[in-house]
Structure formats: structure tokens, C-alpha cells
């Protein structure tokens, strides 16, 4: 839907102000916020599912606990699992990797900073002080997209290592709900990256400036920040809290 809503937008320079509006706001921005409201419910449903299924998997690997490949033994430490009768070779470690995910979380948070700076660059296009490369929209758009791509890289790494540890989307309820939730979020990030890259392309081609372009970037920024806040919730609820 996001695409369809913007669809109306790129029809661009036909001057919004020839049409009467009640609030003086922008159609597309209202639509974006409405859509974000809808997305809140989407992620609430996904996160609820993850939490509801937490601890209900019948086989490992588990998110925070040690497990055993050959039995349903669960423990807080590798030693505890072995003490309970699991052969050392069959011990499964907890799959969630907090240090790695902390890094990717940080990257995504910083991408939001880059995003606001990119918007600021477009808003102040041509103003004194904004002509330097590190204050312009191109640099910050590129940075945002790059950090988004880096986040996706982290996620790809994370998914691959989970699969190596024996957790796929088909393994257990944890696997299904974890991969679906984070994958859904990852897809949002990927769409965002593509969006930012296309904005960057426009910026390179003709420069983003003026009220219409501010709106264009503003909407992309809203989407991007929303994807970021969703990750803030996911990071705490899924990774940190047991």
C-alpha cells in the first residue's frame, strides 16, 4: 500500500494548492500516518504471537536457554544441561546473540539520525551552510541507506548462523515466530532501503529541493523512523527480556 500511496505523490509538480484542503496538510502525509497506525497493529499481532508462543516449543534450539538435540532437556547453562543427562556433543547453545544484535540495533538507531539530517538537508537546500557535503541531503540519504543495508547484513548473518545451529523457520514454534517477526521487519527495512536509494537517485539526477521534495523525503523518513521504533520494541521484547 505504501507504494500505492506514494504513487499519487510522484505525479508531482501539479501544484497541490490549486485544490482546496480542510487542514492545509498533505494528503500523502495523512495517508502515511494512517498506514503507520495500521502497521502498529501488524507488528502488535506479530509480537503477541512471538510472546504467546514463547516457551511452548517442543524441541530446541531455544532463544535464551541451553538445550539438547536428542531430548527436551533445557537448562540455564551448558553444564546444567549436561548434568541433566545430555551428551556433550548434543548440547545446543542459546541462539540469540546479544552482542551482535546490539551492534545492529545501534546501526539502525544511527540511521534514524542520518535520516533526519537528510530531511534537514532537503529542507534547507541552497541555504548558507548547507552547501557543504556533510550537511547535504545526498550524503545523509546515502548514509541512511547504507546503515539500513548494514542492518540487513547483520540480519543475514544472524539468520545464517541460526540455521547452522539448527534453527530454521520449520524447526519449532520459536523458529517460526522468530523468523516471521524479524523477517517481516527485515522486509520493511529492505523496502525502506530501496525507497531511500530511489530518492538518492532523484537527488543525484536533479537535486531534491522545494516543498514537494521535502514532502517526498518527509514521508520516506516517517516510514524509516517507524521501522526503527519497531526494532526498538523488538530488541527489548525479543532479545533482552527472557
Amino acid at each position: 500500500m505504501a507504494t500505492a500511496a506514494i504513487a499519487e505523490s510522484s505525479a508531482a509538480p501539479h501544484g497541490e494548492h490549486t485544490h482546496y484542503t480542510t487542514t492545509g496538510l498533505e494528503n500523502r502525509k495523512i495517508a502515511m500516518w494512517t498506514l503507520i497506525g495500521s502497521e502498529c497493529m501488524i507488528f502488535a499481532s506479530l509480537i503477541s504471537t512471538y510472546l504467546v508462543y514463547k516457551g511452548r516449543s517442543k524441541v530446541g534450539p531455544w532463544p535464551h536457554d541451553w538445550g539438547c538435540k536428542t531430548s527436551a532437556i533445557v537448562g540455564k547453562t551448558a553444564a546444567a544441561v549436561q548434568a541433566a543427562g545430555c551428551a556433550a556433543a548434543d548440547v545446543m547453545k542459546p541462539v540469540l546473540d546479544i552482542p551482535i544484535t546490539s551492534q545492529s540495533t545501534f546501526v539502525l538507531l544511527m540511521s534514524s539520525l542520518a535520516m533526519v539530517l537528510a530531511l534537514e538537508g532537503v529542507e534547507n537546500h541552497g541555504k548558507p551552510g548547507y552547501d557543504r557535503w556533510y550537511k547535504g541531503s545526498r550524503f545523509w540519504l546515502a548514509m541512511t541507506a547504507l546503515m539500513g543495508a548494514a542492518f540487513l547484513g547483520y540480519q543475514a548473518y544472524e539468520f545464517t548462523s541460526f540455521v547452522h545451529e539448527g534453527l530454521t523457520i520449520r524447526t519449532n514454534l520459536f523458529g517460526s515466530s522468530f523468523f516471521t517477526l524479524t523477517g517481516f521487519h527485515g522486509t520493511h527495512v529492505a523496502v525502506g532501503v530501496l525507497w531511500l536509494v530511489s530518492l538518492l537517485a532523484i537527488d543525484m539526477k536533479r537535486g531534491l529541493k522545494g516543498a514537494t521534495d521535502v514532502l517526498l523525503v518527509d514521508i520516506a523518513a516517517l516510514y524509516w523512523h517507524f521501522v526503527d521504533v519497531v526494532w526498538i520494541a523488538i530488541f527489548t521484547l525479543i532479545y533482552l527480556i527472557q
Binding site: 490549486t18 492545509g24 503507520i36 502488535a44 503477541s48 510472546l51 504467546v52 514463547k54 526498538i232 527480556i241
Partner: protein, 109 residues
């Protein structure tokens, strides 16, 4: 058609000034600090405390609010947007809490 400039102007007057570069950087710093504290707490014995989850949730909510208010400009923008977002968020949180309660992941009292 000649448009009601008056109304449009009035609406624009509702926009308060955007945050500045400086504010954006402060916000980023706060986000970093809170995240760092979250991760740090995870590796301390506090992790076993019953207060661990509420504390983490509070920090997460703070980050959430900061990004929405400053980076998404909701604090400064038109009330229509605020209502659209807060309304949906309340509904989403309500559904989440209700589901956790219904599946006995959350106990009342």
C-alpha cells in the same frame, strides 16, 4: 481556483519550529546511552531480578517516545497526525496486553 490562503496559513501556524541539528544529535546520544544501559544491564546480576523486565520496558518505551516525538516530529506536527498515531498505538498495545492476558502470559494482580 482561488484558494483559501487564510485557512492554509492558519494550519501552517500550527506547526511549531522543527528541532535543530543540535537537538537531533542530543537525541541520538540519548538513544545510544539508553541502548548501552539496556545491554549492560543484560549482563549484570540484575537480569535475575523481577524488576529487570519492567526496567527494560521503561527504557525501551523511552527510546520509542524519543524517536517518535523528535525524529518523526510528532511533538511539533499537526494534531491530526498525533491523534492518528497515538490512537492506533493505544489500540495495538491494548490488543497485545489483552492477548498476553488471555494466554496467561500476564497475570492480573
Amino acid at each position: 481556483m482561488s484558494d483559501s490562503a487564510a485557512i492554509v496559513d492558519r494550519a501552517h501556524a500550527d506547526h511549531k519550529a522543527h528541532p535543530t541539528w543540535k537537538q537531533y544529535k542530543w537525541v541520538a546520544l540519548w538513544l545510544t546511552v539508553i541502548t548501552a544501559v539496556e545491554v549492560w544491564v543484560y549482563y549484570t546480576p540484575f537480569r535475575e531480578s523481577p524488576l529487570f523486565a519492567p526496567t527494560l520496558l521503561a527504557m525501551s518505551a523511552a527510546k520509542f517516545a524519543i524517536v517518535v516525538m523528535f525524529y518523526m516530529h510528532l511533538k511539533y506536527d499537526h494534531w491530526v497526525f498525533r491523534r492518528l498515531f497515538v490512537g492506533s498505538l493505544v489500540a495495538a498495545m491494548g490488543i497485545l496486553m489483552a492477548l498476553l492476558f488471555l494466554f496467561s502470559k500476564l497475570k492480573i494482580g
